[in-house]
């Protein structure tokens, strides 16, 4: 089981690792449909993943909205397209910036924390202790965490989008005297379900990828405390790479539907 990132440059190791992650994902789908679900643990994880990430995601979304508007505004003014700012900002944030930035933040915060937590449980035999006490540790630890991240990430994305749009509004209001109602009228006139649905759907996949990789690396951690650190680190790197691959696939698929 590679604990470093060597497998990225080694073809055979890459396919080995991809195969193992696929088997881990297949086991998740087998276990998730098998009752009973660990509801209490799932709710606890939703709280940890969702509520405890609100501030970080909110602040990041707000700053991204501000920065994006400040950076693009001069160019739009040069082209005499200042009036299109709300439309452009809203589409960029809702379609792309909101989901990918939120997912990357969560890969860093949640993916590493899951990798480290499960890795530490693995090397200190807590997972074995759980198993001998008659609990299925995969169901208790892995299924609940992957489900929690999958369910919470779209909600965090919606929150980040909203706060980001508000950040952009502040710039428009301060620099362009655009009122709140005018700004949000323009925003909602330009956002359609064709923007919201794909970005929400891909957020579910982003959440699944973050949870899956964090759990996979943590659950299979080896080599003591060094292995725990490696699990957390590699979980973030692989999840981040995977997010961009998923984003590319999502954009290509969405593009097909736009062309229809």
């Amino acid at each position: 089981m590679p604990t470093s990132l060597n497998f990225i440059t080694n073809g055979k190791a890459f396919f080995d690792e991809t195969g193992r992650i696929s088997l881990f994902a297949a086991r998740f789908f087998r276990e998730v449909v098998k009752p009973p679900l660990e509801w209490r643990e799932l709710l606890k994880q939703c709280y940890v993943v969702g509520y405890q990430s609100l501030l970080l995601v909110g602040v990041t979304g707000f700053i991204i909205g501000l920065v994006f508007d400040i950076q693009t505004r001069p160019t739009m003014i040069d082209f005499g397209a200042e009036g299109y700012m709300p439309a452009m900002v809203s589409i960029a944030i809702v379609r792309e910036i909101g989901p990918i930035i939120t997912a990357l933040i969560c890969a860093g915060k949640i993916g590493s924390s899951i990798g480290a937590e499960l890795g530490s449980m693995k090397v200190t035999e807590q997972i074995d202790a759980m198993e001998v006490s008659g609990t299925n540790p995969f169901k208790f630890l892995v299924v609940t965490r992957i489900l929690a991240v999958t369910l919470m990430l779209p909600l965090l994305v919606i929150m980040a989008d909203t706060v980001g749009l508000f950040g952009a509004f502040l710039v428009e209001n301060l620099k362009g005297d655009v009122t709140f109602s005018l700004y949000f009228n323009k925003v909602f006139n330009n956002i359609v379900f064709g923007d919201l649905i794909p970005s929400t759907l891909k957020s579910f996949f982003f959440g699944f990828a973050i949870g899956l990789i964090g759990c996979y690396k943590g659950y299979n951690a080896e080599k003591g405390t060094a292995g725990v650190g490696a699990a957390a680190n590699v979980a973030v790197v692989i999840a981040s790479l995977l997010l961009f691959v998923l984003d590319l696939i999502a954009v290509l698929v969405t593009d097909i539907f736009y062309d229809l």
Partner: protein, 261 residues
Amino acid sequence: MQTSPQIQANPLIFNEKERGAPLIEIRDLHKAFGNHHVLNGFNMDLFERENLVIVGKSGSGKSVLLKCIVRLEEYDSGSLKVLGSNISELGQDELDRIRSDVGFLFQGSALYDSMTVRENLQFPLRRHADRMRGEDEEKLILSALESVGLAHTLELMPEELSGGMKRRVALARTLILRPKIILYDEPTSGLDPITSKEIIELILKVQHQYDTASLIITHDMDCARVISNRMIILVDGINYGEGTYQELAGSSEPKIRAFFK
């Protein structure tokens, strides 16, 4: 190392007729990791109310043996029966039922560090609610903690406990389902001599109180001397020597004598 006069290993009489069927019966057990053979035809019986100690060097396969008994590791060949059931043939439900009769004290205690002491003890209880039906959960938790002398730690987190206290709480968690057998993986490793002595006395006290059979893996010969009714010396994956502490200590076999120097 001395123990208090009241707490001593059970003076069992190892008479074929009196000891009944073994709780754990292992025959010709083999286990290898790649080319490294850790168990090479190991045999063992554990009887009711017995303290059987297995000693061996680090890496000799002692912990792997314990893990095979509760099927945390699969063995390669041989036969391993726990409470009359062939452990490798059990379905998940049946395996969980057998596991609830076999407590396991891990070397590093393995307390769930995101849970309080109370939640650590609640965890196995809630998994086996049917087994403990009609019993007051709070009473069971308190009674298990009182038997290890740590009733005051109920709301503490594992990180707030010392190494010895963690080992005691882990023992309480093991005891809470009232198992018939307890497996101890190096119960005194990493502890200072005074705490080790306390843990040994506790193991003997618990065995008297709960009437369990114990299989203890250790390389601490003081622990083995005080605690054992019978010992097995594990060398090269087989039971190289077997008998009471005194019998083995008097052996002229160099590989056995090496443990008593």
